[in-house]
Symmetry: C2
Subunit: 394 residues, 2 copies
C-alpha cells in the first residue's frame, strides 16, 4: 500500500475494550508541530459532549492532538459526559506533554450510555507508545462503527516547487445525512494556513462532499469534520491562487471520502449519484436531489434494480419546489427513461435495467426550468440496512 | 359482519384484469340522490390525471358517482392519461344514466404506465350490474394495492332524533406521508350539507387523521380523500351545533381508517403513536413528531424491539426546532426512559422492552418548553418493507 500518512503527524489506533471482540476503538492524531485547525460540526440540536467541548476549544485555532473513540457516542450523558470528554483530552495531553486546551476529542457509537472513561485512560499510554508516521490505517480502524472497511484517502499537490500532502480519514456508515458536517472526518495536511483560511476551505470542501451525501436521512449528534495544518512542508497558503491549488486537493480528498462513506453505507449495494439540472436555483436543485436521494421508495427500487422512475418523479414532486412535471427528462446513466414527463417505453426500460445492475451509476433529472444544478450521492436501501439497524445494540 | 353500507349509496367491485390473479381492481360508488361533495388532494407537484380531473369537477360541488381502479395510477401518462380518465368517467356515466360531469375518478398503482382503458370500459356494465347497498367490502377490495386487508369503517350518529351514517373506505399501504390528503379514502354519508360545509368538515377531519400518519415518508401522486353526502337521512347540517355532532362521527371514521392504514403499512409489525408535548407551538410539536415518525433509524429500532432512545432524541434534534435536550423526558407507554435528557437506566430499559414487544403503543416526548402538543402515527420499518418495495413491479 502506498504511504498514506501526512508528514509531521503521528497516528495510532488500539483496542481499549469499548467494542467487542478486541476491535480497535481508540485512536490518536498527534502533530509534531503546533497546527492550525478548523472544524465543522453537526447542526443537530442534540450534540454530544465531545462536540460541545471541541466547539469551545477550536475557537483558539490551534491544536496539537486529537483523541477519538468508537463504540460509545458520549451523547445525552449530561455533566458526567462532559467530564469524561475532558478527562479523555487530559490523559492524552499528559502523555504527549502538550497543553490540555490543544487536544480535541471525538466519539462515535451508541447514544446515551455513560462513556467508560477508565478504560480509555488506561489505554492512552499504550496508544501514545505505538503512534507512528504510518499509523493512519490503525486510526481509521479505531473509528469504525458499522463500517465494513477503514477509509483513508491521501493526495499530494505542488505549490512553489514543493510538495504538500492532504490525508483524510472518515467513518460512516449509518445516521448519515450530514448537515454542515458529517460523522467523523479528520484531515491532516502539512501546509501552513491561518485558522480562518482553513475554515473557509474546509467549509467549501464539505459543501461539495460530506454535505452532499445521504445513507438514511438521519443526521448524527456527533458529526465532526476537522482539518489540521502543521506547516511542516514549508508551504504557506498566502494568496488566493495558492488557496485554489490547495482547495482542489482538499476537495478531491473529501469527495473521495464522501463517496466511500456511501459505498460502504449500511447495507448498501449501490453508489448512486443523483444529479438535478435545469433548476431555477442551486438551492431548488439541491432540494430535489436531496428528496429523491432520501426517498425510501426510490432507494428500495434501486436495491431491487427496478427502473421504477415513477417513484423518482413522485419524490421530486414532493420536494417543495414548483416543478413542471410535463417538462422533465430523466436519464439512468445515458439512457433517456422519461422525456417530457412520460416514459420512453420498453426498449428504454430494458437498457436502463442494465445500468441498474451496475454497482455505481448516476440518475439525471433535468427540470428544464433554468440553468442551475446540484448533486447528491446516495445508496440503495437493502434488507441488510434493516437487519443492521434492528439489531444494532444487541 | 355488521351492515357497513351507507343509505342511498350503492357500491361494487370487480376484477377487470389490471391486477394479476383475477383480483378485484375496479370499484364504483353510486349515489341514488344527487350528492354534495368535497375533496382534498395530494400536494405533490406531480399529480395523476384523475386528480387533475377531479380537481376541476369538484368545483361544482355535486356528484352522483365515483369510479376507481387499482393496479395503475394513471400518473405521468400525459394527454392520453387525461383522455383515459375522462373515458373512465364517461363509461360509468353512460351506464348509470347520469351526467358525465357528475362522475369523479380515482386511480392507484404503478406510476407511468398507460392505463388499459379498454379493459375498464369492457368491465363497467358488469360492475354497474352488481352494485348494491352492501357492496362496500367489494369496493374496498377493488382499491387495494399492497394492502393486506380491505378497510371499511362505518359509524352512526344521531341528530334531531334521526340516525345518520358515515361509511369510509380507504387503502394504503406504501407511499404514505399524506400532505393535505392521503392515498385513496372515500367517505359516504346520508346527511345533507353544502359543499362548503362538507369541505370544512373534511379538512378538519383529515388534519386530525390522514395528515397525521406516515408509513415511509413518501407522498403519493394520487392522494385523494372524498366526502359525498346524499341527504337521504333527512338530516340537514345547518348550524354549528349540528356540524359538531357530525364532525365527531366523521373524525372517528377517519382516525380509525388512518390508524388502520398504518397498522397495515407495508411490512409493518407495530402501530406506534408518537406524541410530542410541552412544545412552544403546535407546528413545532408536529414538526418533531413528524421527524421522529419518519426516522429510518427510529423505525428500524422499533422493528428490532430495541429501546434505542438515542435515535429518537437524535431525530428530534434534527427537526429544525430549537429544543433544549437537557430538559426532555421520553416515555415508552407509561415507562419513563429519559428524564431531563438522560437515560433512566437498566430497570427502565427492561420495562420499556416489554412495551416494545406489544403490537400497539405510544412514545411521548415532553419538551417542557410550552403547552402545545401533536401526534403522528407511524409503523416500524421491517425487512418486509424492503422486500415489498424492491419487488413491487415484478
Amino acid at each position: 500500500m502506498e504511504k498514506m500518512g501526512c508528514p509531521g503527524f503521528l497516528t495510532a489506533g488500539v483496542a481499549c475494550g469499548l467494542k467487542k471482540n478486541n476491535q480497535k476503538d481508540l485512536g490518536l492524531v498527534y502533530s509534531e508541530a503546533s497546527a492550525s485547525v478548523a472544524g465543522v460540526f453537526t447542526r443537530n440540536r442534540v450534540q454530544a459532549a465531545p462536540v460541545l467541548l471541541d466547539r469551545q476549544r477550536i475557537t483558539a485555532g490551534v491544536c496539537r492532538a486529537l483523541i477519538v473513540n468508537s463504540g460509545n457516542a458520549n451523547c445525552c450523558t449530561g455533566d458526567q459526559g462532559m467530564q469524561a470528554a475532558m478527562r479523555m483530552a487530559k490523559s492524552a495531553a499528559a502523555g504527549l506533554g502538550v497543553s490540555e486546551d490543544e487536544v480535541l476529542v471525538a466519539s462515535t457509537g451508541v447514544i446515551g450510555e455513560p462513556l467508560p472513561i477508565d478504560k480509555i485512560e488506561s489505554a492512552v499510554p499504550g496508544l501514545i507508545n505505538i503512534m507512528q508516521p504510518d499509523g493512519v490505517l490503525n486510526l481509521a480502524q479505531a473509528i469504525m462503527t458499522t463500517d465494513t472497511v477503514p477509509k483513508v484517502i491521501s493526495r499530494r499537490g505542488q505549490l512553489d516547487g514543493k510538495t504538500f500532502t492532504v490525508t483524510g480519514v472518515a467513518k460512516g456508515a449509518g445516521m448519515i445525512r450530514p448537515d454542515m458536517a458529517t460523522m467523523l472526518c479528520f484531515v491532516m495536511t502539512d501546509i501552513q494556513a491561518t485558522p480562518n483560511a482553513l475554515k473557509q476551505m474546509l467549509v467549501a470542501a464539505v459543501n461539495r462532499s460530506l454535505n452532499r451525501i445521504t445513507v438514511d436521512g438521519d443526521t448524527s449528534t456527533n458529526d465532526t469534520a476537522l482539518l489540521m495544518a502543521n506547516g511542516v512542508s514549508g508551504i504557506r497558503i498566502g494568496n488566493s491562487a495558492q488557496q485554489e491549488v490547495f482547495q482542489a486537493v482538499l476537495d478531491d480528498v473529501l469527495i473521495a471520502l464522501a463517496k466511500w462513506l456511501i459505498k460502504d453505507g449500511e447495507g448498501a449495494t449501490k453508489l448512486v449519484e443523483i444529479i438535478v439540472t435545469g433548476a431555477a436555483t442551486e438551492k431548488e436543485a439541491h432540494q430535489i436531489a436531496d428528496t429523491v436521494a432520501n426517498s425510501n421508495l426510490t432507494k428500495t427500487a434501486l436495491f431491487g434494480e427496478d427502473a421504477n422512475w415513477g417513484r423518482i418523479l413522485a419524490a421530486a414532486g414532493r420536494a417543495g419546489v414548483p416543478i413542471e412535471p410535463q417538462k422533465i427528462d430523466i436519464r439512468f446513466g445515458s439512457v433517456l427513461m422519461i422525456q417530457n414527463g412520460m416514459g420512453c417505453g420498453q426498449a428504454a426500460e430494458a437498457e436502463a435495467s442494465k445500468i441498474l445492475k451496475q454497482p455505481e451509476y448516476d440518475i439525471t433529472i433535468d427540470l428544464k426550468m433554468g440553468s442551475c444544478s446540484a448533486t447528491v450521492f446516495t445508496c440503495d436501501f437493502s434488507i441488510d440496512y434493516v437487519k443492521i439497524n434492528a439489531d444494532y445494540r444487541t
